[in-house]
């Protein structure tokens, strides 16, 4: 698989504070990555370093197998950091034309990208007259101008109203479905869960986990069960080697699996033992639960 970004042992110190500590990860083409972490965990600093605006203290990073210089590589990257920054006195077309010049790409895509984010009608308005949502969409249009190999988004829905959040998410999903690699930094877990296939979890600048979302915890999920004979059910499950912790909450048993088992075979097994279930659901932990477990453990 083609490597887009390789970060190894990256460290950034601001005086006494270590914002990023010995961070390593790799971004492969075609995946959608989420960088997760509470506020102040070093997400934006990490992105700042790989985007050439923050100086690293030590460590290395290389774009596209290190064959080009960072600023050349950035021409093939689309990135939005925190707040959209454009020239307030210029309109959308003028601003995007400037970006085209910087990225050394023809100006032919301006209309297409402005239409994609729904700003073509406002193309002649000055940037300073835009609402925050429009500014953010304008930033996305700008980041897409060069049809980037990777799109980097830092808190893209921060400060937006629900409608704006929805619009941005729809745009991100559309881009992801076209096969563009995406690196999305956020502290909003459901946002990451909805679009990302891989996650990198940071806490206080340290890498807690990086890999596919599914194998974040060595977990096989859990069953939610209800039956008329709850005590009997609980005893049976406790005897079974397949289950670990079993919780009884408001008449619903939650049984955590220690090994893979599908709902059908559990139902069959319990039925054979004379227990009829009134409720059976197999679930995986949500990203939020996994994230909290992971950050708590360390």
């Amino acid at each position: 698989m083609e490597t887009i970004l390789n970060v190894s042992h990256l460290t950034k110190k601001f005086g006494y504070l270590t914002a990023v500590k010995d961070l390593s990860f790799t971004i492969e083409k075609g995946n959608v990555y989420g960088i997760l972490g509470p506020n102040g965990s070093g997400k934006s600093t990490t992105l700042g370093i790989i985007l050439n605006v923050v100086n690293r203290t030590s460590g290395e990073f290389s774009w596209f197998d290190g064959t080009t210089s960072t600023h050349e590589a950035l021409k093939k990257v689309g990135a939005i950091i925190e707040r959209p920054n454009f020239y307030p006195y210029m309109n959308a077309i003028q601003n995007l034309r400037l970006v085209c010049k910087i990225k050394d790409v023809p100006e032919t895509k301006i209309q297409e990208k402005l239409e994609l984010v729904g700003l073509w009608d406002r193309r002649n308005s000055k940037f300073k007259t835009y609402s925050l949502g429009m500014k953010q969409r304008m930033a996305i249009a700008s980041a897409l101008l060069n049809d980037p190999e990777i799109l980097i988004l830092d808190e893209p829905t921060n400060g937006l109203d629900p409608q704006g959040i929805h619009q941005i998410r729809e745009i991100i999903k559309k881009i992801a479905s076209q096969g563009t690699t995406i690196l999305l930094a956020s502290h909003l877990l459901d946002e990451v869960e909805k679009v990302c296939s891989h996650v990198i979890i940071l806490r206080k600048g340290e890498n807690l986990y990086s890999g596919p979302v599914d194998s974040m915890l060595a977990s096989h999920g859990f069953f939610e069960l209800r039956s008329n004979d709850l005590d009997q059910l609980q005893k049976l499950l406790e005897k079974s080697a397949s289950f670990g912790k079993i919780e009884n909450f408001n008449g619903t048993l939650t049984a955590y699996l220690k090994e893979e088992m599908d709902a059908e075979s559990l139902n069959q097994m319990l039925f054979d033992k004379g227990i009829v279930l009134s409720h059976l659901v197999k679930r995986k932990e949500s990203l939020e639960e996994q994230f909290l477990t992971l950050t708590k453990n360390q």
Binding site: V53, N55, R83, N85, L98
Partner: protein, 277 residues
């Protein structure tokens, strides 16, 4: 190189304040000569400035470069704000993320500064040439094209001054403060000169040292031309003062100014390189 200039042109030309200032600067640059030629011809006192020999070749090169250099303050405002606005709009960050290297960023500003200086020099050259051909008492080729060193002096003076403005914009990040700093610096050079002469060394030595100060060295390139006028020199002779002084431009004066230019540009780059945006 053309790409970097185009980038800067888009930024400047779409900003109404910059556009107005740039246009007024060049309008002033051309009209100064014309106004001087027409006016001063009023009332019973027949004082026609053009008759006083200010438009004589080669003196006109000296006079016009000296006077027009005073307008550089217009462009100074444009240049300081074109640098500091990048910080206040945070567009410098976006430029770098979009794939401009820090070197290219500085280079685009420096190229703009050089273009400004070059266009100004051409304006002054053409303007003075026309004015001189109309009013000058001497029209021989050899005289017209003597003392031309004032033109490169003008060019380097502007480049150095604008580089200083760039550096201040980069250092201070706020245009109003940067311009304030520029004024403060002007005063500071005089204060340091005063202190040196008064306490540290002889006035002669202090004057030597003063030549190495950045703004002073730029001013030194084109010295004030008034005392070169025959009218003024006549008065000087009558009151028994020898006013002949050395107005020529020397190579070491060029050198000092070029070294300062290099220092300012390098420092701007060093600051940008070191800063976390």
């Amino acid at each position: 190189m053309l790409r970097l200039l185009q980038i800067e042109f888009i930024k400047l030309w779409n900003n109404r304040a910059s556009k107005v200032l740039i246009i007024s600067y060049f309008v002033l640059l051309t009209s100064i000569a014309l106004i001087a030629a027409i006016k001063f011809d009023i009332g019973p006192v027949q004082f026609h400035l053009a008759d006083q020999g200010i438009f004589n070749f080669p003196y006109i090169w000296h006079f016009n470069t000296y006077v027009t250099a005073l307008f550089k303050l217009f462009l100074a405002i444009v240049i300081v704000s074109m640098m500091s606005n990048e910080y206040s709009n945070k567009t410098i960050k976006q430029n770098l993320i979009d794939g401009l290297s820090k070197k290219e960023f500085i280079l685009s500003k420096v190229l703009t500064v050089i273009s400004f200086a070059l266009i100004s020099t051409i304006f002054v050259f053409v303007g003075s040439l026309i004015l001189g051909l109309v009013y000058s008492d001497y029209n021989e080729m050899s005289i017209i094209f003597s003392d031309l060193e004032f033109l490169p002096a003008f060019f380097f003076k502007l480049v150095a001054f604008f580089s200083f403005c760039l550096f201040l914009g980069m250092l201070v990040k706020r245009s109003a403060f940067a311009l304030g700093f520029l004024i403060l610096w002007t005063i500071l050079e005089q204060v340091v000169f005063g202190l040196l002469g008064w306490k540290v060394m002889s006035w002669e030595a202090a004057k030597m040292v003063k030549r190495f100060f950045p703004l002073e060295s730029m001013a030194n390139l084109i010295k004030e031309p008034a005392t070169r006028l025959s009218a003024v020199q006549n008065i000087g002779q009558q009151i028994g003062e020898d006013m002949r002084f050395d107005y020529h431009v020397y190579w070491y004066e060029f050198l000092i100014v070029i070294v300062w230019t290099a220092i300012f540009i390098y420092l701007s780059y060093a600051i940008l390189k070191k800063r976390d945006l």
